[in-house]
Symmetry: C2
Subunit: 215 residues, 2 copies
Amino acid sequence: MRATASAHATDSLDARDKILATAARLFAQNGFENTSLSQVAREANVSKALIFWHFDSKEALYRSALRKTLEPYFINMDALEGLSARGQVECVIDQFYEFVDQNVYSVRFFLGLALRGETRPDEGLTRVVELYRAFRNNLTDIIDSGRQRGEFRADADSTREAALILSTLGGILIQQFMTDDTSPSAKQLVDYLKRSVVQRLTSAPDAGPAAGRPD
Amino acid sequence: MRATASAHATDSLDARDKILATAARLFAQNGFENTSLSQVAREANVSKALIFWHFDSKEALYRSALRKTLEPYFINMDALEGLSARGQVECVIDQFYEFVDQNVYSVRFFLGLALRGETRPDEGLTRVVELYRAFRNNLTDIIDSGRQRGEFRADADSTREAALILSTLGGILIQQFMTDDTSPSAKQLVDYLKRSVVQRLTSAPDAGPAAGRPD
DNA sequence: GTCTATATACAGATAGAC
DNA sequence: GTCTATCTGTATATAGAC
Protein backbone atom coordinates (compact mmCIF):
# COMPACT_ATOMS: atom_id res chain seq x y z
CA MET A 1 0.00 0.00 0.00
CA ARG A 2 1.03 3.58 -0.62
CA ALA A 3 1.31 6.08 2.22
CA THR A 4 -1.09 8.93 1.57
CA ALA A 5 -2.60 11.67 3.65
CA SER A 6 -6.23 10.68 4.20
CA ALA A 7 -8.85 13.08 2.99
CA HIS A 8 -12.61 13.33 2.69
CA ALA A 9 -13.22 14.88 -0.70
CA THR A 10 -12.32 13.62 -4.15
CA ASP A 11 -10.55 16.89 -4.77
CA SER A 12 -7.97 16.44 -2.06
CA LEU A 13 -7.04 12.86 -2.93
CA ASP A 14 -3.70 12.38 -4.61
CA ALA A 15 -3.74 12.00 -8.35
CA ARG A 16 -3.77 8.21 -8.45
CA ASP A 17 -6.82 7.95 -6.21
CA LYS A 18 -8.55 10.73 -8.06
CA ILE A 19 -8.04 8.84 -11.31
CA LEU A 20 -9.29 5.65 -9.71
CA ALA A 21 -12.41 7.22 -8.24
CA THR A 22 -13.25 9.00 -11.48
CA ALA A 23 -12.67 5.89 -13.53
CA ALA A 24 -14.78 3.74 -11.22
CA ARG A 25 -17.64 6.21 -11.54
CA LEU A 26 -17.39 6.56 -15.32
CA PHE A 27 -16.96 2.87 -16.00
CA ALA A 28 -19.98 2.09 -13.87
CA GLN A 29 -22.03 4.78 -15.58
CA ASN A 30 -21.03 4.23 -19.18
CA GLY A 31 -19.27 0.88 -19.38
CA PHE A 32 -15.77 0.05 -20.51
CA GLU A 33 -15.90 0.75 -24.23
CA ASN A 34 -17.95 3.86 -23.80
CA THR A 35 -15.53 5.50 -21.39
CA SER A 36 -12.46 7.11 -22.92
CA LEU A 37 -9.27 7.85 -21.06
CA SER A 38 -9.51 11.43 -22.30
CA GLN A 39 -12.79 11.69 -20.43
CA VAL A 40 -11.30 10.20 -17.28
CA ALA A 41 -8.31 12.53 -17.55
CA ARG A 42 -10.53 15.57 -18.04
CA GLU A 43 -12.89 14.80 -15.15
CA ALA A 44 -10.04 13.83 -12.85
CA ASN A 45 -8.12 16.99 -13.84
CA VAL A 46 -4.99 15.18 -14.88
CA SER A 47 -3.28 14.48 -18.16
CA LYS A 48 -3.86 11.31 -20.09
CA ALA A 49 -0.20 10.44 -19.79
CA LEU A 50 -0.47 10.39 -16.02
CA ILE A 51 -3.08 7.67 -16.22
CA PHE A 52 -0.59 5.55 -18.13
CA TRP A 53 2.10 6.27 -15.60
CA HIS A 54 -0.06 4.96 -12.74
CA PHE A 55 -1.81 2.20 -14.66
CA ASP A 56 -0.25 0.26 -17.47
CA SER A 57 -3.24 0.28 -19.76
CA LYS A 58 -6.93 1.04 -19.96
CA GLU A 59 -7.66 -2.54 -19.00
CA ALA A 60 -5.41 -2.35 -15.96
CA LEU A 61 -7.20 0.80 -14.87
CA TYR A 62 -10.50 -0.97 -15.37
CA ARG A 63 -9.43 -3.88 -13.18
CA SER A 64 -8.32 -1.55 -10.40
CA ALA A 65 -11.53 0.46 -10.63
CA LEU A 66 -13.55 -2.74 -10.51
CA ARG A 67 -11.81 -3.82 -7.32
CA LYS A 68 -12.64 -0.49 -5.78
CA THR A 69 -16.28 -0.77 -6.80
CA LEU A 70 -16.52 -4.22 -5.27
CA GLU A 71 -15.32 -3.13 -1.82
CA PRO A 72 -18.82 -2.80 -0.29
CA TYR A 73 -19.90 -6.16 -1.71
CA PHE A 74 -20.21 -8.54 1.23
CA ILE A 75 -22.90 -10.16 3.37
CA ASN A 76 -23.44 -9.41 7.03
CA MET A 77 -25.27 -12.21 8.73
CA ASP A 78 -25.07 -10.93 12.31
CA ALA A 79 -28.62 -9.60 12.24
CA LEU A 80 -30.02 -13.09 11.83
CA GLU A 81 -29.14 -14.40 15.28
CA GLY A 82 -32.01 -15.01 17.64
CA LEU A 83 -34.70 -14.67 15.00
CA SER A 84 -37.33 -17.25 14.16
CA ALA A 85 -36.93 -19.01 10.82
CA ARG A 86 -39.68 -16.83 9.46
CA GLY A 87 -37.97 -13.71 10.78
CA GLN A 88 -34.68 -14.85 9.25
CA VAL A 89 -36.21 -15.32 5.83
CA GLU A 90 -37.75 -11.88 6.00
CA CYS A 91 -34.48 -10.44 7.21
CA VAL A 92 -32.44 -11.88 4.35
CA ILE A 93 -34.96 -10.54 1.87
CA ASP A 94 -34.70 -7.12 3.47
CA GLN A 95 -30.92 -7.32 3.46
CA PHE A 96 -30.89 -8.08 -0.24
CA TYR A 97 -33.21 -5.21 -0.96
CA GLU A 98 -31.25 -2.78 1.17
CA PHE A 99 -27.98 -3.84 -0.33
CA VAL A 100 -29.24 -3.34 -3.85
CA ASP A 101 -30.81 -0.06 -2.88
CA GLN A 102 -27.51 1.22 -1.53
CA ASN A 103 -25.54 0.08 -4.54
CA VAL A 104 -27.92 0.74 -7.42
CA TYR A 105 -25.33 2.13 -9.76
CA SER A 106 -22.80 -0.64 -9.48
CA VAL A 107 -25.43 -3.38 -9.29
CA ARG A 108 -26.86 -2.02 -12.48
CA PHE A 109 -23.41 -2.03 -13.95
CA PHE A 110 -22.61 -5.61 -12.98
CA LEU A 111 -25.98 -6.78 -14.18
CA GLY A 112 -25.17 -5.22 -17.51
CA LEU A 113 -21.87 -7.07 -17.57
CA ALA A 114 -23.55 -10.39 -16.84
CA LEU A 115 -26.09 -9.70 -19.52
CA ARG A 116 -23.57 -9.12 -22.23
CA GLY A 117 -21.48 -12.07 -21.07
CA GLU A 118 -18.48 -9.74 -20.95
CA THR A 119 -15.09 -11.07 -21.91
CA ARG A 120 -13.50 -8.25 -19.93
CA PRO A 121 -11.19 -9.14 -17.06
CA ASP A 122 -14.10 -10.61 -15.18
CA GLU A 123 -12.70 -11.09 -11.69
CA GLY A 124 -15.49 -8.78 -10.57
CA LEU A 125 -18.38 -10.56 -12.17
CA THR A 126 -17.51 -13.86 -10.53
CA ARG A 127 -17.53 -12.18 -7.17
CA VAL A 128 -20.99 -10.79 -7.78
CA VAL A 129 -22.24 -14.21 -8.80
CA GLU A 130 -20.71 -15.64 -5.64
CA LEU A 131 -22.50 -13.05 -3.55
CA TYR A 132 -25.77 -13.90 -5.21
CA ARG A 133 -25.16 -17.58 -4.59
CA ALA A 134 -24.28 -16.86 -0.97
CA PHE A 135 -27.58 -15.09 -0.47
CA ARG A 136 -29.36 -18.04 -1.99
CA ASN A 137 -27.52 -20.69 0.00
CA ASN A 138 -28.19 -18.67 3.09
CA LEU A 139 -31.90 -18.77 2.36
CA THR A 140 -31.79 -22.48 1.58
CA ASP A 141 -30.20 -23.22 4.94
CA ILE A 142 -32.68 -21.07 6.82
CA ILE A 143 -35.64 -22.74 5.15
CA ASP A 144 -34.18 -26.18 5.78
CA SER A 145 -33.64 -25.57 9.46
CA GLY A 146 -37.05 -23.94 9.75
CA ARG A 147 -38.53 -27.03 8.20
CA GLN A 148 -36.67 -29.34 10.58
CA ARG A 149 -37.80 -27.29 13.54
CA GLY A 150 -41.40 -27.58 12.43
CA GLU A 151 -41.78 -23.86 11.72
CA PHE A 152 -42.24 -24.48 8.01
CA ARG A 153 -44.28 -27.13 6.29
CA ALA A 154 -42.55 -30.49 6.06
CA ASP A 155 -42.65 -30.73 2.27
CA ALA A 156 -41.09 -27.32 1.62
CA ASP A 157 -38.58 -27.46 -1.25
CA SER A 158 -35.81 -25.29 0.17
CA THR A 159 -33.64 -25.23 -2.95
CA ARG A 160 -36.36 -24.19 -5.32
CA GLU A 161 -37.95 -21.90 -2.81
CA ALA A 162 -34.68 -20.05 -2.26
CA ALA A 163 -34.00 -19.85 -5.99
CA LEU A 164 -37.50 -18.52 -6.61
CA ILE A 165 -37.19 -15.88 -3.91
CA LEU A 166 -33.87 -14.67 -5.27
CA SER A 167 -35.24 -14.67 -8.79
CA THR A 168 -38.16 -12.56 -7.67
CA LEU A 169 -35.88 -10.14 -5.89
CA GLY A 170 -33.72 -9.87 -8.99
CA GLY A 171 -36.84 -9.39 -11.06
CA ILE A 172 -38.11 -6.62 -8.84
CA LEU A 173 -34.75 -5.03 -9.36
CA ILE A 174 -34.84 -5.03 -13.14
CA GLN A 175 -38.49 -4.14 -13.12
CA GLN A 176 -37.42 -0.87 -11.53
CA PHE A 177 -34.99 -0.29 -14.36
CA MET A 178 -37.80 -0.61 -16.85
CA THR A 179 -39.00 2.60 -15.17
CA ASP A 180 -42.54 1.54 -15.61
CA ASP A 181 -44.36 4.03 -13.42
CA THR A 182 -47.70 2.25 -13.59
CA SER A 183 -46.37 -0.67 -11.55
CA PRO A 184 -46.20 -1.00 -7.75
CA SER A 185 -43.01 0.31 -6.15
CA ALA A 186 -40.14 -2.03 -5.39
CA LYS A 187 -40.70 -1.61 -1.68
CA GLN A 188 -44.33 -2.67 -2.00
CA LEU A 189 -43.40 -5.66 -4.10
CA VAL A 190 -40.78 -6.78 -1.60
CA ASP A 191 -43.33 -6.59 1.17
CA TYR A 192 -45.80 -8.53 -0.89
CA LEU A 193 -43.11 -11.09 -1.65
CA LYS A 194 -42.33 -11.56 2.02
CA ARG A 195 -45.97 -12.12 2.84
CA SER A 196 -46.53 -14.62 0.07
CA VAL A 197 -43.34 -16.51 0.90
CA VAL A 198 -44.36 -16.83 4.52
CA GLN A 199 -47.78 -17.96 3.46
CA ARG A 200 -46.28 -20.51 1.09
CA LEU A 201 -43.92 -21.90 3.70
CA THR A 202 -46.32 -22.11 6.61
CA SER A 203 -49.65 -23.09 5.05
CA ALA A 204 -50.93 -26.64 4.70
CA PRO A 205 -49.82 -28.55 1.60
CA ASP A 206 -51.92 -27.68 -1.44
CA ALA A 207 -54.14 -29.81 -3.66
CA GLY A 208 -51.55 -30.65 -6.35
CA PRO A 209 -51.40 -29.96 -10.11
CA ALA A 210 -54.24 -30.24 -12.68
CA ALA A 211 -56.15 -27.29 -14.23
CA GLY A 212 -56.04 -28.24 -17.89
CA ARG A 213 -53.67 -26.31 -20.09
CA PRO A 214 -53.97 -27.36 -23.76
CA ASP A 215 -51.65 -26.04 -26.44
CA MET B 1 -41.01 -1.70 -50.19
CA ARG B 2 -38.39 -2.81 -52.66
CA ALA B 3 -38.99 -5.63 -55.10
CA THR B 4 -36.48 -8.38 -54.46
CA ALA B 5 -36.18 -12.03 -55.36
CA SER B 6 -36.95 -13.94 -52.18
CA ALA B 7 -34.23 -16.27 -50.88
CA HIS B 8 -33.57 -18.57 -47.98
CA ALA B 9 -29.93 -17.96 -47.03
CA THR B 10 -28.18 -14.80 -45.87
CA ASP B 11 -25.75 -15.26 -48.71
CA SER B 12 -28.30 -14.93 -51.44
CA LEU B 13 -30.06 -11.85 -50.06
CA ASP B 14 -29.36 -8.61 -51.83
CA ALA B 15 -26.76 -6.37 -50.32
CA ARG B 16 -29.11 -4.19 -48.36
CA ASP B 17 -30.74 -7.11 -46.57
CA LYS B 18 -27.39 -8.73 -45.95
CA ILE B 19 -26.19 -5.55 -44.29
CA LEU B 20 -29.37 -5.35 -42.26
CA ALA B 21 -29.21 -8.97 -41.09
CA THR B 22 -25.54 -8.71 -40.21
CA ALA B 23 -26.03 -5.42 -38.39
CA ALA B 24 -29.01 -6.76 -36.41
CA ARG B 25 -26.94 -9.71 -35.28
CA LEU B 26 -23.85 -7.71 -34.36
CA PHE B 27 -25.76 -4.93 -32.59
CA ALA B 28 -27.62 -7.51 -30.54
CA GLN B 29 -24.44 -9.36 -29.70
CA ASN B 30 -22.10 -6.46 -28.99
CA GLY B 31 -24.22 -3.36 -28.60
CA PHE B 32 -24.19 -0.14 -30.58
CA GLU B 33 -20.89 1.43 -29.55
CA ASN B 34 -19.06 -1.85 -29.65
CA THR B 35 -20.05 -2.63 -33.22
CA SER B 36 -18.11 -0.85 -35.95
CA LEU B 37 -19.30 -0.35 -39.48
CA SER B 38 -16.04 -1.83 -40.68
CA GLN B 39 -17.01 -5.00 -38.86
CA VAL B 40 -20.49 -4.98 -40.36
CA ALA B 41 -19.04 -4.37 -43.81
CA ARG B 42 -16.52 -7.19 -43.43
CA GLU B 43 -19.02 -9.77 -42.19
CA ALA B 44 -21.61 -8.76 -44.75
CA ASN B 45 -18.97 -8.84 -47.52
CA VAL B 46 -19.64 -5.33 -48.69
CA SER B 47 -17.73 -2.07 -48.55
CA LYS B 48 -18.28 0.48 -45.84
CA ALA B 49 -19.37 3.00 -48.43
CA LEU B 50 -22.22 0.78 -49.48
CA ILE B 51 -23.60 0.86 -45.97
CA PHE B 52 -23.75 4.64 -46.20
CA TRP B 53 -25.41 4.47 -49.54
CA HIS B 54 -28.25 2.30 -48.18
CA PHE B 55 -28.44 3.88 -44.74
CA ASP B 56 -27.66 7.48 -44.03
CA SER B 57 -25.64 6.93 -40.87
CA LYS B 58 -24.70 4.36 -38.28
CA GLU B 59 -27.68 5.45 -36.20
CA ALA B 60 -30.05 5.04 -39.13
CA LEU B 61 -28.71 1.54 -39.67
CA TYR B 62 -29.22 0.86 -35.99
CA ARG B 63 -32.82 1.99 -36.14
CA SER B 64 -33.54 -0.22 -39.13
CA ALA B 65 -31.83 -3.19 -37.53
CA LEU B 66 -33.82 -2.61 -34.34
CA ARG B 67 -37.08 -2.64 -36.26
CA LYS B 68 -36.07 -5.92 -37.82
CA THR B 69 -35.20 -7.38 -34.44
CA LEU B 70 -38.55 -6.30 -33.03
CA GLU B 71 -40.63 -8.04 -35.69
CA PRO B 72 -41.39 -11.16 -33.60
CA TYR B 73 -42.30 -9.05 -30.55
CA PHE B 74 -46.03 -9.37 -30.05
CA ILE B 75 -48.53 -11.17 -27.83
CA ASN B 76 -50.88 -13.85 -29.03
CA MET B 77 -53.84 -14.19 -26.72
CA ASP B 78 -55.87 -16.69 -28.73
CA ALA B 79 -54.74 -19.64 -26.63
CA LEU B 80 -56.48 -18.19 -23.57
CA GLU B 81 -60.05 -18.68 -24.74
CA GLY B 82 -62.08 -21.31 -22.96
CA LEU B 83 -59.60 -21.80 -20.14
CA SER B 84 -60.37 -21.44 -16.44
CA ALA B 85 -58.86 -18.42 -14.72
CA ARG B 86 -56.25 -20.68 -13.25
CA GLY B 87 -55.48 -22.17 -16.64
CA GLN B 88 -55.23 -18.68 -18.12
CA VAL B 89 -52.73 -17.55 -15.52
CA GLU B 90 -50.62 -20.60 -16.16
CA CYS B 91 -50.91 -20.09 -19.88
CA VAL B 92 -49.72 -16.49 -19.77
CA ILE B 93 -46.78 -17.53 -17.64
CA ASP B 94 -45.91 -20.23 -20.16
CA GLN B 95 -46.29 -17.78 -23.01
CA PHE B 96 -43.88 -15.38 -21.40
CA TYR B 97 -41.37 -18.11 -20.82
CA GLU B 98 -41.67 -19.47 -24.34
CA PHE B 99 -41.39 -16.06 -25.86
CA VAL B 100 -38.23 -15.27 -23.95
CA ASP B 101 -36.84 -18.69 -24.72
CA GLN B 102 -37.33 -18.14 -28.44
CA ASN B 103 -35.81 -14.67 -28.37
CA VAL B 104 -32.99 -15.01 -25.88
CA TYR B 105 -30.47 -13.00 -27.83
CA SER B 106 -32.61 -9.97 -28.47
CA VAL B 107 -34.28 -10.08 -25.06
CA ARG B 108 -30.83 -10.07 -23.56
CA PHE B 109 -29.95 -7.15 -25.76
CA PHE B 110 -32.99 -5.09 -24.86
CA LEU B 111 -32.55 -5.84 -21.19
CA GLY B 112 -29.04 -4.51 -21.51
CA LEU B 113 -30.40 -1.35 -23.12
CA ALA B 114 -32.89 -0.82 -20.32
CA LEU B 115 -30.19 -1.39 -17.77
CA ARG B 116 -27.88 1.24 -19.14
CA GLY B 117 -30.76 3.64 -19.69
CA GLU B 118 -29.60 4.03 -23.29
CA THR B 119 -30.02 7.39 -24.93
CA ARG B 120 -29.86 5.70 -28.35
CA PRO B 121 -32.80 6.07 -30.71
CA ASP B 122 -34.97 4.16 -28.27
CA GLU B 123 -38.11 3.48 -30.29
CA GLY B 124 -37.35 -0.18 -29.65
CA LEU B 125 -37.00 -0.03 -25.90
CA THR B 126 -40.38 1.60 -25.47
CA ARG B 127 -41.97 -1.17 -27.47
CA VAL B 128 -40.37 -3.79 -25.24
CA VAL B 129 -41.60 -1.99 -22.16
CA GLU B 130 -45.06 -1.86 -23.67
CA LEU B 131 -44.98 -5.58 -24.32
CA TYR B 132 -43.96 -6.21 -20.73
CA ARG B 133 -46.77 -3.98 -19.53
CA ALA B 134 -49.22 -5.77 -21.80
CA PHE B 135 -48.27 -9.10 -20.30
CA ARG B 136 -48.78 -7.64 -16.85
CA ASN B 137 -52.11 -5.99 -17.58
CA ASN B 138 -53.23 -9.21 -19.15
CA LEU B 139 -52.46 -11.04 -15.94
CA THR B 140 -54.13 -8.39 -13.85
CA ASP B 141 -57.34 -8.73 -15.82
CA ILE B 142 -57.31 -12.51 -15.64
CA ILE B 143 -56.81 -12.46 -11.89
CA ASP B 144 -59.53 -9.88 -11.44
CA SER B 145 -62.09 -11.80 -13.43
CA GLY B 146 -61.07 -15.03 -11.70
CA ARG B 147 -61.66 -13.29 -8.40
CA GLN B 148 -65.07 -12.03 -9.47
CA ARG B 149 -66.05 -15.49 -10.65
CA GLY B 150 -65.08 -16.96 -7.30
CA GLU B 151 -62.21 -19.01 -8.67
CA PHE B 152 -59.64 -16.98 -6.75
CA ARG B 153 -59.79 -15.77 -3.17
CA ALA B 154 -61.82 -12.62 -2.72
CA ASP B 155 -58.98 -10.55 -1.23
CA ALA B 156 -56.49 -11.28 -4.03
CA ASP B 157 -54.52 -8.16 -4.96
CA SER B 158 -54.50 -8.46 -8.73
CA THR B 159 -52.18 -5.54 -9.41
CA ARG B 160 -49.47 -6.59 -7.02
CA GLU B 161 -49.91 -10.23 -7.82
CA ALA B 162 -49.44 -9.59 -11.53
CA ALA B 163 -46.44 -7.35 -10.90
CA LEU B 164 -44.89 -9.96 -8.64
CA ILE B 165 -45.38 -12.73 -11.16
CA LEU B 166 -43.80 -10.70 -13.94
CA SER B 167 -40.96 -9.71 -11.65
CA THR B 168 -40.33 -13.33 -10.85
CA LEU B 169 -40.39 -14.28 -14.50
CA GLY B 170 -37.94 -11.50 -15.28
CA GLY B 171 -35.80 -12.63 -12.38
CA ILE B 172 -35.75 -16.21 -13.58
CA LEU B 173 -34.59 -14.79 -16.86
CA ILE B 174 -31.64 -12.85 -15.53
CA GLN B 175 -30.81 -15.64 -13.14
CA GLN B 176 -30.13 -17.75 -16.22
CA PHE B 177 -27.73 -15.12 -17.47
CA MET B 178 -25.77 -15.39 -14.26
CA THR B 179 -25.04 -18.88 -15.58
CA ASP B 180 -25.09 -20.25 -12.10
CA ASP B 181 -25.14 -23.99 -12.71
CA THR B 182 -25.86 -24.89 -9.10
CA SER B 183 -29.35 -23.39 -9.33
CA PRO B 184 -32.54 -25.06 -10.55
CA SER B 185 -33.23 -24.70 -14.26
CA ALA B 186 -35.46 -21.96 -15.54
CA LYS B 187 -38.08 -24.49 -16.58
CA GLN B 188 -38.20 -25.93 -13.06
CA LEU B 189 -38.48 -22.49 -11.55
CA VAL B 190 -41.30 -21.51 -13.85
CA ASP B 191 -43.19 -24.65 -12.89
CA TYR B 192 -42.59 -23.95 -9.24
CA LEU B 193 -43.77 -20.39 -9.77
CA LYS B 194 -46.99 -21.55 -11.38
CA ARG B 195 -47.73 -23.87 -8.51
CA SER B 196 -47.06 -21.30 -5.84
CA VAL B 197 -49.10 -18.65 -7.62
CA VAL B 198 -52.07 -20.96 -7.87
CA GLN B 199 -51.71 -21.87 -4.25
CA ARG B 200 -51.50 -18.21 -3.29
CA LEU B 201 -54.57 -17.28 -5.31
CA THR B 202 -56.80 -20.15 -4.27
CA SER B 203 -55.93 -20.82 -0.61
CA ALA B 204 -57.73 -19.30 2.38
CA PRO B 205 -56.55 -15.84 3.53
CA ASP B 206 -53.42 -16.03 5.72
CA ALA B 207 -52.78 -14.94 9.31
CA GLY B 208 -51.32 -11.47 8.66
CA PRO B 209 -47.93 -9.85 9.42
CA ALA B 210 -45.81 -10.05 12.62
CA ALA B 211 -42.55 -12.08 13.13
CA GLY B 212 -40.26 -9.49 14.72
CA ARG B 213 -37.38 -8.16 12.66
CA PRO B 214 -34.94 -5.99 14.71
CA ASP B 215 -31.92 -4.26 13.12
C1' DG C 1 4.96 12.38 -10.69
C1' DT C 2 3.24 15.31 -13.87
C1' DC C 3 3.22 17.56 -18.02
C1' DT C 4 3.15 18.64 -23.61
C1' DA C 5 3.75 16.73 -27.89
C1' DT C 6 3.46 13.03 -30.84
C1' DA C 7 2.90 8.24 -32.92
C1' DT C 8 -0.30 5.01 -34.56
C1' DA C 9 -4.64 2.92 -35.35
C1' DC C 10 -9.24 2.91 -36.42
C1' DA C 11 -13.74 5.03 -36.09
C1' DG C 12 -17.68 7.33 -38.97
C1' DA C 13 -18.40 9.59 -43.11
C1' DT C 14 -17.57 11.60 -48.11
C1' DA C 15 -15.93 11.92 -53.18
C1' DG C 16 -16.01 10.21 -57.29
C1' DA C 17 -14.94 6.33 -60.72
C1' DC C 18 -17.41 2.53 -62.77
C1' DG D 1 -25.52 -0.07 -56.64
C1' DT D 2 -21.02 -1.00 -55.62
C1' DC D 3 -16.44 0.00 -55.33
C1' DT D 4 -11.48 2.38 -53.91
C1' DA D 5 -9.42 6.16 -51.96
C1' DT D 6 -9.50 9.61 -48.73
C1' DC D 7 -10.92 13.10 -45.12
C1' DT D 8 -11.41 14.08 -40.27
C1' DG D 9 -11.92 13.12 -35.63
C1' DT D 10 -10.68 10.70 -31.62
C1' DA D 11 -9.01 6.59 -29.38
C1' DT D 12 -4.98 4.18 -26.82
C1' DA D 13 -0.42 4.57 -25.97
C1' DT D 14 4.61 6.50 -25.98
C1' DA D 15 8.66 9.93 -25.76
C1' DG D 16 10.84 12.97 -23.42
C1' DA D 17 11.10 17.66 -20.93
C1' DC D 18 10.62 19.35 -16.20
